[in-house]
Symmetry: C2
Subunit: 128 residues, 2 copies
């Protein structure tokens, strides 16, 4: 499997889910074209394609909040990417760790595992 | 924030990243339209829109591998959803836990945290 096997959509894009390699939190959903995917692999930092600006962008280029890439996976249809990263700062332009900060629906009273985040952190720290 | 505030694309769709609420692994990227999102909230199980079949599908309807929804989050642009679930079986039609089983690129020799999955499982079990 290489870049040419990825199934890009009619606009030449593929959705890329960016996940923290340690905490496993999902940080961002962005889009890559073939060029930004190649740059991501070459530089080991995330590059995306901005649909609004219609140009490539190197995450963290101005803010310094780059995302170092540890793994890129593809799904069974080869039309979605999962990019595992070590973020060097907030993922969101609002300054938050993740772009997914608000809930549309809560099925449980509280994220029950939150209080045990220390164990996830411990696992990640041991693994470093 | 409610369903009407979600920004659907020109085809009436929004990408939905499905994540295991306990292990935090990303299982699938699928698409929802307004109707499938409402059904997901109403039934507390995932419903998607199949772009190839052009119809709604209730994940697990035939296989029994439904995904019970614990939380739905939206991102800063309101054009992507993160759906946290308790899966009742494999997410992938190939029978695998996740649709993201293969790597396009490895930046590290090995997923270093894998050996400590037991700690994540412990955290999730304590939280149950």
């Amino acid at each position: 499997m290489n870049v040419d096997d990825v199934v890009f959509d009619g606009e030449g894009l593929v959705p890329a889910v960016v996940q923290d390699a340690n905490s496993k939190e999902v940080l961002t959903v962005a889009y890559m074209n073939r060029e930004s995917l190649k740059k991501t692999i070459d530089t080991k930092e995330t590059w995306f394609y901005s649909r609004s600006r219609q140009s490539l962008w190197h995450k963290g280029e101005t803010s310094g909040n780059v995302q170092q890439v540890s793994d890129i996976r593809f799904d069974c249809d080869r039309d979605a990417l999962l990019v595992l990263v070590h973020p060097r700062g907030p993922a969101c332009h609002r300054g938050t760790y993740s772009c997914f900060t608000e809930s549309l629906y809560h099925g449980e009273a509280k994220q029950k595992t939150e209080g045990f985040e220390i164990l996830r952190t411990l696992a990640a720290t041991i693994a470093e």
